[in-house]
Symmetry: C2
Subunit: 238 residues, 2 copies
DNA sequence: AATAATTGTTTGTGATCACAAAAGTAAGTT
DNA sequence: AACTTACTTTTGTGATCACAAACAATTATT
C-alpha cells in the first residue's frame, strides 16, 4: 500500500538474492553498489523503513547494513541520527585523491615482493582486458577492470591491512567518479598499467609507485577542470 | 541467573552511562576501549548474549556495536559468523606499523598548512604534558597523550578523510601495544614530539614527516626485539 | 498576516520472540 | 579405546512490537 513519495524517488539496482548469503549481507552489497554507482544522491535522507520497503525485507537487515556502511564512511550519520550519502566538496575530493595516492602507492610497494608467476599472469590478463575495454570505449567496464587490477596487485601481499582502507576511499569517491564518467563521452586515458607492469617485472618499487600514482591522478583527471568538478559537486549537493 | 563461564572469563571496564548517548553508542565505546586496552584476548569468541549479560543490556545494541567494530577491523567475523579479536602475527604487526607511517606522515603533511596559532598552542600543551608524563614514567598516560597529540595534528586539516583510517590502524595495534607496554618497566623514549614541533613551526613538511615516522617507529620499538614481539604474539594467540 | 504553540505523523532505538544453523555433549558402534 | 552418530544446547539471524524523540503540518495567538 504505497501512498506517496515525499522526496525524490530512489531507484536501486536489485540483484538476485542467493540463499547462501544472509539477508543482511545481500542488503549490504545492494546498498554498497547503489552508493558506488551513484544511484543515491548525496544529501538525500535514507530511512530504514523506506529502504526496507524498496528492498522488500524487514527493517532489521537494513539497520545493520546502514550501520556497517556508515562505519566504512560510505554513509554519514548526522546528529539527527539521519543517514545520508555524504556531500562532496572540491577540497574533500582532492583530499581523497591524495590519500589514495599515498596509501595505494605504499600498498603497491609492499605487495611487490610477493608477486610470483601466477599473480603476474593474472595481472597481465587484467591488463589486456583493460586494453580491450579501452578500445571499445566501455567506460563502466574500464572502471571495474581498473579496480580489479589495483585490488589484484595489493592482495598479492598476504599480510593485508591496507585494502580495507583503500576500499573505503574507493567507496567515498565512487559516486562522483561515476557521476563524472557518465557525463563524459570523450576522454582519453594514457594506459599507465603497462608502465606498472614493466615496473613489476623489474621488481622496481619506486617505478611502480610512480606508475600507480600517475594512474590514479589520470584516472580522476578526466573529471577534468576544477570548474567541471565543481559543477558536478554543486549539482550533487542540491 | 548466571550459571557458568565455560570459557575464560571476560573482564570489561565499564564506565558510567550518560543518558544523552544511545545505549548502542555506549556499548560501542565500552567494547572499543576493551579492545584497545587488550582486555579481550585475541581468539576468544565473543557472543552477543554473553556480552549483553556482562554489560547488562539487551542483545540488540551489542549486535550493532559488534558489527560496527567489525567494519572498522577492530573485530573479525569468521566464516562461522563468530566474532573475535583478530590474532596477530609478526608480519601483520609489521604491516600495520608501516601502514601507520605511510598514512600518518601523509596526514601530517596535509595538515601542516592549516595549523594556526590556536592549534599550535594546543599542540604545545600536549607536548609539555607528554614531557611531564614521561618524567613520571606513566606509560598509560604517555600512550593516551601521544594519541591525542597525533589526532590534534591531523585534525587541523578541516577536510578530513584520513583520520578514520588511522584510527582503524590504532585500534588494530592497540591491544598489542598495551600488552607490550604493560610488561615493560624500563623503556626509554626519545621525545620526537619536540622535533615535530619545530618542523611545524618552520612549516617544514618533509622534516615533519621524518619526525612523525621516527615517532611511530620508536613508539613501537619498545616492543623491542622481534623475539619479544614474537613472545607476546604467541601468548596472545593461544 | 507572521510567528509561536500544538497536534499528528514519521523515524530511530531498544526489547522480545521464533527459528535454523552451529557447537557441544552423550550414547552407541566397531 | 577411537570414532561415528544422535541428541541437546547455544548462537546468530530476522521479524515484530513499544516507545520517545524528531519532523511536519495545523491551529492558535499577537
Amino acid at each position: 500500500m504505497q501512498i506517496m513519495d515525499k522526496k525524490s524517488p530512489i531507484h536501486i539496482t536489485i540483484s538476485e538474492r542467493d540463499d547462501s548469503v544472509t539477508i543482511t549481507q545481500w542488503v549490504y552489497q545492494t546498498l554498497r553498489n547503489a552508493v558506488m554507482y551513484g544511484e543515491i544522491l548525496p544529501g538525500r535522507a535514507l530511512t530504514i523503513r523506506e529502504l526496507a520497503g524498496i528492498l522488500d525485507v524487514s527493517p532489521m537487515p537494513v539497520r545493520e547494513a546502514l550501520r556497517q556502511l556508515a562505519a566504512e564512511n560510505a554513509l554519514e550519520i548526522q546528529g539527527n541520527r539521519r543517514v545520508m550519502v555524504p556531500k562532496m566538496t572540491a577540497m574533500k575530493f582532492s583530499e581523497l585523491c591524495e590519500a589514495r595516492i599515498a596509501i595505494e602507492s605504499h600498498a603497491a610497494a609492499r605487495a611487490l615482493p610477493y608477486i610470483d608467476r601466477d599473480q603476474l599472469s593474472q595481472l597481465r590478463v587484467l591488463d589486456s582486458l583493460i586494453d580491450k575495454a579501452q578500445e571499445e570505449k566501455d567506460l563502466a567496464q574500464i572502471s571495474t577492470l581498473n579496480q580489479n587490477f589495483h585490488r589484484a596487485l595489493y592482495t598479492a601481499n598476504p599480510h593485508q591491512v591496507t585494502l580495507p582502507l583503500i576500499e573505503s576511499l574507493w567507496l567515498q569517491l565512487g559516486p562522483f567518479m561515476r557521476l563524472a564518467t557518465s557525463q563524459l563521452e570523450e576522454h582519453y586515458l594514457v594506459d599507465r598499467h603497462n608502465e606498472a607492469m614493466t615496473a613489476i617485472e623489474k621488481k622496481d618499487a619506486f617505478a611502480l609507485q610512480v606508475a600507480i600514482a600517475a594512474d590514479i591522478r589520470e584516472g580522476i583527471a578526466f573529471a577534468g577542470t576544477p570548474e567541471m568538478l565543481h559543477a558536478f559537486i554543486e549539482n550533487a549537493g542540491t
